[in-house]
Symmetry: C2
């Protein structure tokens, strides 16, 4: 998405082809709709439900993408095909590979062989919310695991405490962030998810309007937060970071509804959208 | 401070007289220094160590402030004299007044008389970090206490869970935020405070520079976080909100050093300043 922005700034006409119907599958359709509007507002064409069959030579431009939605000619075509861990070396060494397809490690980042450590995108990570091993290739996780592996190799033992699935990106002027698990993952993890999506202002009313949407997902029986998603022109990452710490501590939505946050009008209302969403979710249970 | 900004925008020459040597006593001098620079950068004169003896009639302007630092003439003089709870009615009713001078309440916002409730700036609040009753007149606390009182009066019992002392304000383009307690309050609370102040970038290096300073205070014996202060052109409130949730959950700095936050370059580095400060503090203990 940051690539699109650079292209746009350079005055390059940009189209995004997406297999789904809306951008950013992880986010609720109502939140992704805001991303779609931001793409359009910045002159980016979004082609949903697109499957690319071939890249051919073009007539007016060097390249032509042949898709189920038609043909598009272009100077440059970028593919985002996802990430899969390269475990060739690990397999050759006889290391255990986990069910995610990534290298299995213990909290010390040790593989099945005592003196072989793995860290980063190639290995599994303990997800503190789903209580499962996952493979989430993000740079901050890789950095932390690398330090943990180094500490253990260097004789100053340290356990990697796991992750909660926090993530963010910027789309032009829009902040998108999410943490924890969604309803589908919650059901797979034997939770009973219940969710709410509220729209609000990232500022106090007296400071103007900065629209923000926040979705919270909680477990019906325990009331514990399971996940959160936010999109807005400001404050989305801030809210998701606070909620990531709440997830880390296994907070329930009653506590979250009364959390003490650093209120002042330029940064939120006296009742923050976090409070409002948690209390709306409590009423929904 | 927001008043100064409005005056400045209107082209009004502004001077701030302060009893201390730097703005915003709650923040570490190194962080307040950044506030002082922001005031100066926006054409506001800051007069430190000022005590006002009298307001007289001026020669060129209607008013003249007579201070120990000299005389200043002005059209308008604003005094910020602090806030003290008005407990006159409470005293007349025979309600208990706490050691802070505010009305004593239990977690249901009940005063010493069963059928009399108090909420907001006039009453005490339980501070989850210092484990003491405090009086912090902030609108978000007042709102929450009001709802708790209403719930209890209405027969749907609810306890107010207390606060961690989160607070923020904007000074022109600068974000200032703090949470928890400082070294002085920590010593008064029988903790053994140890602190560190780190400077960093609120963005990843590839996205430019947004200077941010973060001070963390922890208890030497338990390693638990006691407080945090941040100042920066972006991301300060976000960090303090995440750390407020960490304080709420009584997290120690080892956990904070490896928290999973929503990393992406426009909003921070792979090692966030929160991680760097927590790890620096661990090394200092």
């Amino acid at each position: 998405m940051e690539m699109s922005e650079s292209l746009q700034r350079a005055g390059i006409q940009t189209a995004v082809f997406h297999r789904g119907s809306l951008p950013a599958n992880r986010w609720d359709p109502e939140l992704s709709q805001m991303m779609l509007e931001e793409l359009k507002a910045n002159g980016v064409e979004f082609v949903p439900n697109a499957e690319t069959a071939a890249i051919e030579e073009g007539k007016d431009f060097p390249l032509c993408a042949v898709t189920n939605q038609g043909k598009w000619e272009a100077d440059l075509i970028l593919f985002a095909v996802g990430v899969r861990p390269n475990v060739e070396l690990a397999r050759a060494m006889g290391l255990a590979i986990g069910p995610t397809g990534a290298i299995a490690v213990n909290p010390r980042q040790q593989t099945a062989k005592d003196n072989v450590y793995a860290a980063g995108d190639c290995c599994e990570t303990f997800h503190r919310v789903s209580r499962r091993q996952v493979n989430i290739p993000l740079g901050d996780i890789a950095n932390k695991q690398g330090r943990v592996a180094g500490r253990n190799i260097g004789g100053r033992p340290l356990d990697f405490p796991g992750i909660v699935g926090a993530q963010s990106f910027r789309l032009f002027n829009l902040e998108a962030a999410a943490t924890g698990i969604d309803e589908k993952e919650a059901i797979a993890g034997n939770f009973s998810p219940v969710s709410t999506l509220v729209w609000g202002n990232a500022l106090a009313g007296s400071m103007g309007q900065q629209r923000i949407g926040l979705k919270l997902i909680a477990d019906k029986s325990s009331g514990k937060l399971l996940g959160a998603q936010a999109v807005g022109f400001s404050g989305a990452v801030s809210r998701i970071n606070a909620l990531s710490v709440a997830l880390w501590s296994e907070m329930n939505i009653d506590e979250i509804g009364y959390l003490d946050l650093a209120y002042s009008p330029p940064y939120g209302g006296a009742w923050d959208i976090i409070h409002n969403a948690a209390q709306a979710l409590r009423r929904a249970i």
